[in-house]
């Protein structure tokens, strides 16, 4: 596994996995991994869900890294999915923790109530004090989180994982604080979701890329109800207002709503296939000029 695990470097893991049939036992060697974003932790759990043979993961050798993974509840959930090799640190919650929401399963509607209840108090403190965002953002941020989690339950057809963390970028954006939401599932993904609509008429361009363009950019859903699709539209509005970034990977494609501070590509195609969808939202600290 890469030393730093985020949405970009995780592609290296997806690439390696694509060549290994699901019934082959795999070892995810995290000994040299020193850092992971919420995306990394939630995607690791999703990876295990795609394997027919229970995989093994090694605990990071760096004590701080292993301790953080413990605080973020990664090992708690990994225990049910992986054989864990190495010493798992005891999970302790620090008063100064930057973990806004520990890795949390999203399977049932009541899980979303739990997510919303758990995050509200900590979000209020971190979003206002660290990110200098206006007080009303806490509610809107939580709305976004709720909608993204609902997409897992409604569209994935299988459970997923959510985690939220704030941290300080060392180099990017002049060392600003950011808050990152990651939601990963291994369900049907965007393409199959749209294909399940009776009105779906595929053409020769149809694929994961087009499915992401249709849903993320044009608000298309598989439902006939005109009230559907408002969640993602609300997420995009929030992202635009707070100069955030949204990226969605599904199947073999990844689409991103890229703000001016980021150099990412808006679309990647022909990636290694991975089921479900993997979503990341990044909200940067508000500076005086923003």
């Amino acid at each position: 596994m890469p030393p730093s695990l985020d949405d970009k470097s995780f592609e290296l893991i997806f690439d390696q996995l694509a060549a290994v049939p699901p019934d082959v036992k795999i070892l995810l060697d995290a000994r040299r991994t020193r850092w992971s974003s919420p995306y990394g932790l939630t995607a690791l759990l999703a990876v295990a869900q795609t394997r027919l043979e229970r995989p093994t993961i090694t605990v990071p050798e760096n004590d701080d890294t292993a301790s953080y993974w413990g605080r973020a509840s990664f090992f708690k959930h990994a225990d049910g999915l992986y054989d864990i090799s190495g010493r798992v640190p005891r999970a302790r919650q620090s008063a100064e923790s930057s973990v806004l929401l520990e890795v949390t399963p999203v399977v049932h509607t009541q899980d979303i109530h739990t997510v919303v209840d758990n995050i509200q108090q900590r979000a209020h403190a971190i979003l206002q004090e660290k990110l200098h965002l206006q007080s009303q953002i806490t509610m809107r941020f939580t709305m976004v989180l709720s909608e993204i989690c609902q997409n897992v339950i409604e569209h994935a057809g299988a459970g997923g994982w959510v985690a939220v963390q704030s941290y300080k970028w060392q180099q990017r954006l002049g060392g600003r604080n950011v808050v990152v939401i990651a939601v990963c599932d291994t369900g049907m993904g965007f393409r199959k979701s749209l294909e399940s609509s009776p009105s779906h008429r595929p053409d020769d361009r149809w694929g994961d890329r087009m499915a992401l363009e249709e849903t993320v950019m044009r608000g298309v859903t598989r439902f006939r109800d005109p009230g559907r699709g408002q969640g993602l539209a609300g997420v995009k509005k929030f992202i635009g207002t707070w100069h955030g970034k949204l990226s969605v990977r599904s199947g073999t494609a990844r689409i991103a709503v890229v703000p001016s501070w980021d150099q990412d590509e808006p679309m990647f195609d022909n990636l290694a296939a991975f089921p479900g969808s993997q979503v990341q939202i990044t909200i940067p600290e508000r500076m005086g000029d923003a």
């Binding site: 509607t109 109530h113 919303v116 509200q120 909608e147 609902q150 339950i153 005109p226 009230g227 408002q230």
Partner: protein, 187 residues
């Protein structure tokens, strides 16, 4: 008849007594059904004050299930189930974000009122209707001829505008004229 419905109580009764946030579609659908049951118990002509004061978060999906689907049943059809008027009371800024988005999506409008504040018309309403609604709030009540005189518009147009506002349940129609929802609450 005026009926006060505490939406957070409906949430606790219909879904879970530990919840204070209106999130997810299934939650919204359960709360809407709870409100509908309440409306079934009151008269054929009533004003329902939906009180959001104790609601924490309201997300887009839940707003669509509760607000939009409720309005579409009672307001936005040729023959509504009953003559029910709604005032959405005690909403905060984030509630308004979610509600305005769903109103725009469905072309709906509603009357909202903050605690101790003036009534507000939000959603999709054309300019002429909005002016007429504001004028009738200012006047307290009006017949088409009164509104025509106050706004300097032809009487038939005033009558048509008031009828449209009534069909959308944004004003109350009685034999003595048309009344704004706000003044009805105050009385």
């Amino acid at each position: 008849m005026i009926s006060h419905i505490d939406v957070s109580s409906v949430l606790r009764r219909s879904v879970c007594d530990l919840y204070s946030n209106l999130v997810t579609r299934p939650t919204g659908a359960a709360v809407r059904i709870g409100i509908e049951h309440h409306l079934d118990e009151i008269g054929d002509k009533s004003l329902a004050v939906l009180d959001f004061t104790h609601v924490g978060l309201l997300d887009f999906s839940c707003a669509d299930e509760i607000v939009a689907k409720l309005l579409m049943q009672y307001v936005s059809v040729d023959i509504p189930r009953r003559e029910v008027y709604f005032v959405f009371y005690g909403m905060n800024e984030s509630h308004m974000d979610a509600i305005e988005a769903v109103l725009e999506r469905h072309g709906l409008a509603l009357v909202t009122q903050l605690a101790g504040g003036a009534a507000q018309l939000i959603g999709t309403v054309d300019g002429e209707e909005r002016k007429a609604w504001e004028k009738i709030c200012e006047m307290g009540s009006a017949l088409p001829a009164d509104l025509a005189a106050a706004m300097g518009m032809p009487a038939d147009k005033a009558a048509k505008t008031l009828e449209t506002l009534w069909r959308r349940r944004l004003v109350i129609r009685q034999e003595s004229g048309y009344f704004p929802l706000r003044s009805t609450i105050q009385s």
